[in-house]
Symmetry: C2
Subunit: 340 residues, 2 copies
DNA sequence: ATGAAAGCGCTAACAA
DNA sequence: TTGTTAGCGCTTTCAT
């Protein structure tokens, strides 16, 4: 095992102290008035052997790490995977690395992950918060750690957050149904107190009540439930609500299950049932018919998140709340008749 | 900023040395014959304040980290995202955390990532190797770091690796075409010397030459190319090879571009063109017609990778080479006429 | 039955 | 112009 070269080794080689080497490497040689000659020789040597200081040791010493902790629900979910990718790219350019962890929306796991992040002295936190994680976030907040929360926010405490306008998005989606020949839009939504779901429901309620329509909502819990069960829940819902002629699904996962449900029921889209999905998916461009979707601007999300975090890492500033509008991508699944 | 409690603080509280506390916490109290009474009091206190030693310091001291470095091409690619998720899950259960990085198939970035992994003392490496990364891997190998390579392997050096049987898979796919009414299968493949691509091509060549058919191959480089360009390359390829009646795409990315190309050309699947995709995708279950795909067993992949890595982390053993067969999922895009 | 002390590799206040 | 030294928080050898 070839032993790594350390600052000490270099110091010995030049018969100076580690401090001198440290200053030179960290560009503080001038202000320490170290001789130009020594500076050059050391720098040349460092370049030659391609020496890089141990970040671990630096971290232990300085409390910094050049690492950003990124915590999402599930990295295999394309929404998070794409966001993670963009954040990773941009952070990389700024010299930061990412530690990426999935919580599975499990509070305990999220707690452990946050602990691990702290323990490793990550310089900043980017978090899609699961339920019940408030205490840990408060602790971080108290300790002045830079945090950006995204996808949803926690009402109790103030953080910088980046979200989309969930309420407005679903509101517009329902209007889109109504303007395109549908009369009884229903909502299939995740049963969760998280803000994004609450707001999506709000937008739906606002739209139906503005048109004096009944609210027809199916809430689905996702614990201990597999695809097949979700599909059959949706089938039951459709069967027992014959009046509905259109469905807004609150996530692309539900939309995918919903499409399977409709195939089984042999319900025709868009003639017999209109469909809109929250969150776009590759699939929706290709499906027959193509599926109208509310698309969150992922690139912009990632940009904003990192921009805010870097700013906060630089200096603890007041919190930013950024709301990025989503776009309704009009495809064929939500047009019953030609618009008047 | 609430200062973290350290071992020293605990030692002071009990008026013993840090060594004693360290022994107790690491379960070496018995063999060190520390008094039962002290053990209990310390353990109780530790539980009460929920003390956990700094992994950073432990890492610096021991060279271990309880972290596994996972390097993939692109975390936003569903294949890698799913593998990453499973590996993360399983590693988590074993007490390991994952640092996940994308290389973008960029050698320089991959080098830096490996360096970062080393620097952080990761205990094991799981790597989908980009081209030209051999020297770095050799260094790791020399230093006895546990490595598992996956998705492809590097011929020069021996590592433990987990791959699918690429050659056999494409061979069978072409046979599937021929058994189902197609006569001129073509291949659209990534232009890369990586083993998985070479082997996929081999399987194709083996199948066509066994049937005395011409090899009709389109190789596509992915550098500085966007979706639209790939699509138009595929359109050109189809236009200038009128004889072909079926295409095997070497990745789900190419398949998705290919589907768009065929839509633009208004070529009917499966009547005018048969399609098989290497790697499955949600989309393919839903597309009209459904798309036949060679599916790599992701769960099994993740299992094997981690199993081997953990074994190697335990004791440096000879390398394992695991080849996991893929499954041809027969859907409708590759059946021209009913099988005889 | 317990502790002193060295040291992992680095930084930075303070000396000289 | 450079060096000394005290840690960061932990593990572990060797003493007692």
């Amino acid at each position: 095992m070839s032993k790594r070269i350390s600052m000490n080794d270099i110091a010995e080689k030049f018969e100076v102290s580690t401090a001198t080497i440290s200053y030179i490497i960290n560009g503080k040689a001038r202000e320490k008035r170290i001789s130009e000659d020594l500076i050059k020789r050391v720098l040349d040597f460092v370049a030659e052997i391609d020496y890089q200081p141990s970040q671990l040791a630096q971290s232990l010493r300085t409390g910094k790490s050049k690492i950003i902790g990124l915590m999402v629900d599930d990295i295999s979910n394309p929404f998070f995977a794409e966001i993670a990718k963009r954040i990773e790219d941009k952070a990389y350019q700024k010299g930061y690395r990412i530690i990426l962890c999935s919580t599975d929306n499990n509070t305990k796991k999220a707690q452990e992950i946050i602990r691990m992040f702290r323990d490793r002295n990550v310089d900043g936190y980017i978090i899609a918060p699961p339920e019940g994680i408030e205490p840990e976030l408060e602790d971080l907040q108290k300790d002045q750690k830079p945090i950006v929360v995204f996808d949803r926010f926690l009402s109790e405490i103030n953080y910088s957050y980046v979200i989309t306008d969930n309420c407005e998005s679903t509101y517009q989606a329902i209007l889109h149904f109504l303007e395109n020949g549908y009369q009884r839009p229903a909502l299939v939504i995740l049963d969760s107190p998280q803000s994004q779901m609450v707001d999506r429901e709000k937008g739906y309620l606002k739209a139906v009540s503005a048109h004096h329509l009944p609210a027809i909502i199916k809430k689905i819990k996702l614990e201990n439930v597999n695809d097949a069960e979700v599909i059959s829940l949706i089938i039951n819902f459709i069967d027992s609500n014959k009046s509905i002629d259109s469905i807004l699904f609150s996530s692309n996962y539900f939309t995918r299950c919903g499409l399977e449900a409709l195939e089984k029921l042999e319900v025709k889209i868009p003639e017999e049932m209109g469909i809109i999905s929250f969150d776009d998916h590759d699939l929706f461009r290709f499906y027959s018919p193509t599926i109208t979707a509310i698309a969150q601007p992922i690139e912009k999300f990632a940009d904003e998140i990192l921009k805010i975090l870097l700013k906060k890492m630089d200096a603890m500033l007041p919190d930013d709340a950024v709301v990025i509008p989503s776009t309704l991508i009009e495809r064929k699944s939500a047009i019953k008749k030609v618009r008047a």
